[in-house]
Amino acid sequence: MANRYFSVFKISLKSGMAYKAEIVLKIIFSFISSLIILFVWYAAYHYSNTSNINGISLTTTVLYFFVFASIAAIWGGYGVGKLINSDIKTGSIVSNFIRPVNYVYALFVRHLPQTLIFLIFGTIPILTIIYIISGMHMAIAQLIYFIAEIAIAYFIFNLIAFIISIFTIYLSDVEGIMNAVFIIIEILSGAIVPIIFYPKPIYNILLLTPFPFLAYIPISTFIGILKISQIPWILVIGTAWVLVLSVISRILWKKFNRDINIVGI
């Protein structure tokens, strides 16, 4: 059975690598577009004549957004959400349903190569360059926690995308809704404003939600804003969110999939 999913992975990787120039451009432009927000923060520091906001210096903020730019490509394209939205809207779900594999597992496996391509050719080289240039020091535990948080973030992001996108079954197209939801998620995750800049009570509440895992938590772990002692508890919260979102996804899929309506296409 596992062999079948490995075959799905291999063919998706091969399809993903069919247009190499497109991959390179996607990585470059994702990095550049994610850095635009950095200029806004540079201006904020410069014109407010302050050297730090909530204890975070301009140098740390610059580092924060460089690290964000290196991981942002992983979240590009709404993850599995885009796949399922297109599968249902165009009827291509049929081509996947006729195979002896679980559609939902295969969906995640189909998306995995795209993430790995960005990780290998985008995130890892860029983070290595940032690490060398910035002269930062990172403990092994910090690196392991960072990798674990990226893995948790991958599941949280894709499960949220999955939950929203299966409403395509009833709404025909949910790209607009996904746009709106992910703008809110960007604000809550620390992709635009590092959540440590928010008032303390809001910051503490946000740490209990799944959203900071998509930006603030892994970035802060990497650059050392978060204390190492805090991280195990944060990982427990993240894992709990992955489980909760998995259960919600499972219940909704079981309830919704019998209403899939691919007629006339």
């Binding site: 069919a18 006729i98 002896p100 019998r258 691919i262 007629v263």
Partner: protein
Amino acid sequence: MADRIIKVNNVSKSFRTYETGNGFLGGFRKKYSMKNAIENISFSVSKGEIVALIGRNGSGKSTLTKMLSGILHPDKGNIKMLGKAPCKERIDVAKHIGIIFGSTHPQVFWDLPPEDTFKYIKEIYNVSEKDYNERLESLLNMLDLKKVYKRQTRQLSLGERMKCEFVAVMLYMPKVIIMDEATVGVDLPSRIAMGNAILEMRKKFNLTAVITTHVVEDISIADRLVLIDYGKKLYDGPVKKFKDKFANYTVLELEFEDRKHIAEYMKLGKALVKNNNYLKLAIKPSAIKNPEFIKIFKDRNITNYRVSDPMLSSILEDFYKGIDTAKTR
């Protein structure tokens, strides 16, 4: 009693559809309604049987094939495929059935050569290296695909892509094959080769096939015809019986030396085609007793004549016209 491999019991399926109004603002005014795609249909297919599921556009054929393969759930009734409910045990059922959904839902990967899809199929369905090589070689030769199967799929013609879809399914030798308009764009020799491949597999492995098509020649390999229209089953039986039941006429074709003699034979039956020196008539079986009919053999003005059964396409055309006429009454 033969082993019933597919059982469809009182199955119904409806879906919500809408119409929009005219003009720019019309897009905001949607009128929703429920369309009954399938209404209380029952039939079964025995092991090794080839059944042609036919009907006009929008008659519900594709909806039915999607329910047979477990993609859509029936609203009412139940379906058993190889003893299992396809919509509940989809993965188990999918291991043993092969489906080709015309050009609308391709399974050959668009950005890769068909060869990659074939290798993927080999892995997914656990086809041994030996079987894979033998079957691939034979199918590529049979369908004249050797020159193209290593090219990117998107660069292939529609017919070539459809033939690759057929190869992808035949590689793992399913117990049941469902073909939903699988010969769209396929040239005549390859269509015949596809039909022969199905017959060959039935002979060797007792393959069961359900074929949905608008190409009447594809029906020639079928043992049975299930005809549906507006979601309702109108006929279920052997192809020959359908012809006997709905074509109570014979076709008479006459070629004349001089067209002025055509009029003399018009009263023999209903003219189907009349041009230049050629006359094609639909005649009742009793017409052979007509003295005019006997005259054909003596008339020196008639240079050629032919008596034949009507073509299935003509019978179906008349059948559909009959349904529409009955509806307008």
